[in-house]
């Protein structure tokens, strides 16, 4: 699968304020069909607010968000069909793996007759077939996060948002999941927006990296990763790009500004 020119998600002039304190100053970016976009920013730069806005949960103070050309808020709004992988898996512990996946599918447009086949295939792809009838508490952190990824993909969303999904895992597990994520995104062509603190992770996974400033944040740079896919995590070029990005953001992330605006 390749990236197309069709815009899935478009954010124009988006700003968010809480009680007079600005969290996001202004975001403008676009995500194309099949793209893997990473979002990098320092702590407190408004990444959570951004995710809430583009998942349809928080109306921005200003600006527009459109999904497949239709507004996410205001007149003519549509609920986004999206998958979400949380930092913590957010599986329901009282439902088995399969039941968790079925519950998400029951609320999606995927026809019932395809559920079993799709679930089996996805669990096989993520190497967790044997845990289909297990309870989430019986799984390791990495296995739970795999189920969470499976849930996000199975609902056949317009795009998937991933909020630092590998940050709580040990490095070995995280590394293996990164490889699987990269392979799945290439094979399924799912549009993914991946928030992370790890520059190397962003460089390894993403076609493009949206780099944010400190809060109240702006888009500092829209950075295209100049390495063809598939990539090797130990490729020295990844280290070079990582260093390049560090040099670019060093000054910006070191600064701290505070601004006050009108109430949200």
């Amino acid at each position: 699968m390749t990236v197309t020119n069709q815009s899935v998600l478009k954010v124009a002039g988006m700003g968010v304020s809480y009680g007079g304190v600005q969290a996001i100053s202004r975001f403008d970016f676009e995500v194309k069909q099949g793209e893997f976009v990473a979002v990098l920013g320092p702590s407190g730069c408004g990444k959570s607010s951004m995710l809430n806005v583009i998942s349809g949960l928080l109306e921005p103070t200003r600006g527009e968000v459109t999904v497949n050309g239709r507004p996410l808020y205001g007149e003519g709004r549509q609920d986004p069909k999206l998958g979400y992988v949380f930092q913590n898996h957010r599986l329901l512990p009282w439902r088995t793996v399969k039941q968790n996946l079925e519950l998400a599918l029951a609320s999606s447009d995927v026809p019932r007759e395809r559920w079993d086949r799709n679930i089996d295939e996805m669990l096989r792809t993520l190497h967790i077939s044997q845990f289909k009838d297990a309870w989430p508490l019986q799984l390791s952190g990495g296995q739970r996060q795999r189920v969470s990824i499976a849930r996000a993909i199975l609902v056949e969303p317009s795009y998937i948002l991933m909020d630092e999904p590998l940050s709580t895992l040990d490095e070995v597990t995280a590394r293996s999941l990164r490889e699987e994520l990269s392979a799945i995104s290439r094979r399924t062509g799912t549009t993914i927006m991946f928030v992370t603190h790890s520059i190397r992770e962003a460089v390894y996974l993403a076609d493009r990296i949206i780099i944010l400033t400190r809060g109240p944040s702006n888009v500092f740079e829209d950075y295209s990763v100049p390495i063809e896919k598939p990539r090797d995590y130990d490729d020295p070029r990844i280290g070079e790009v990582e260093r390049d990005i560090i040099n670019r953001v060093k000054g910006v992330w070191g600064m701290k500004r505070t601004e006050r605006t009108e109430d949200h």
């Binding site: 998942s55 349809g56 949960l57 609920d79 999206l82 979400y84 949380f86 913590n88 957010r90 329901l92 512990p93 009282w94 439902r95 519950l103 998400a104 029951a106 609320s107 999606s108 845990f131 009838d133 297990a134 309870w135 989430p136 508490l137 019986q138 849930r151 609902v155």
Partner: protein, 261 residues
């Protein structure tokens, strides 16, 4: 993975050992009390009278009447408590208003609730049901409000993102989450329901029901009968607790057991 085996039987088995041991421990205590006091009946005599007592259809009809009053009253209390808790969780004004009623009923002595209800309903059958409902409702409300307030907001967020809708959200996310609070409140309410129904049946001069028969036996100093009714009462309360509530609880929380195994 383990397939679903007979969870109900395992639950009963696990409970039964200790429960029987606890009951058995009461026998020597009872015997000592019989030897050292005036009004305690001989456990042996009570045991001999038990088969005939249980074979009497009147015994079961009186148990059934009290059980019915408890079940309907508790059902109404649970319903009222659930509705009040949902209202209190949704609206701050309603919370302030309803909290007054909840605290008032919670702090009112059960005996006073029983007398008032029976006076209002003039000893009618509905009075007994009302007493149980009014006494159990605040326990359900308080427990459920605590549960609703502690509901996992991140799971709510997940449910909204995946468009679960209100029915799936309540059934698959909210209810299982607050289930421990429901069971805890239900257990307290159930225990209180049995206590208060006996008081109500005695104060209300009921002609039927456990309390009425107990009171009658006590009035005429039929001590063996008093003990028989007490035994039946204990057996009934323990059966509902271990044979019904705990079995349901174990089924609802079976995912915890499996995860721990």
């Amino acid at each position: 993975m383990k397939s679903d085996d007979n969870w109900a039987m395992r639950a009963i088995d696990r409970n039964l050992h200790w429960s029987l041991a606890a009951v058995a421990l009461l026998i020597p205590v009872w015997w000592l009390a019989f030897r050292t006091t005036t009004f305690i009946a001989d456990p042996l005599v009570v045991a001999q009278a038990l088969p005939e007592f249980l074979a009497n259809p009147e015994t079961w009809s009186n148990i059934g009447i009290t059980l019915g009053r408890v079940a309907i009253g508790l059902g109404c209390g649970v319903l009222a408590g659930t509705l009040a808790a949902l209202a209190m969780n949704r609206n701050r004004l309603l919370e302030q208003v309803l909290r007054v009623y909840v605290i008032s009923t919670l702090r009112t002595p059960s005996a006073i609730s029983a007398i008032l209800a029976l006076a209002i309903f003039k000893g009618d059958e509905i009075g007994y049901v009302f007493v149980v409902a009014i006494v159990t409702f605040p326990f359900m409300t308080i427990g459920l409000v605590d549960g609703l307030k502690s509901a996992d907001r991140e799971l709510d967020k997940m449910a909204r993102i995946y468009h679960f809708g209100i029915v799936r959200h309540v059934r698959h996310v909210l209810l299982p989450y607050i289930a421990p609070f429901i069971f805890s409140s239900l257990r307290n309410a159930h225990a209180l329901a049995w206590k208060v129904i006996v008081v109500a049946e005695i104060f209300g001069a009921a002609r039927t029901g456990f309390g009425a028969k107990f009171d009658h036996a006590w009035e005429y100093m039929l001590m063996v009968e008093v003990h028989l009714w007490l035994l039946v009462f204990m057996a009934l309360v323990l059966f509902v607790e271990y044979g019904v509530l705990r079995v349901i609880e174990r089924y609802v929380f079976r995912w915890r057991d499996r995860a721990a195994s």
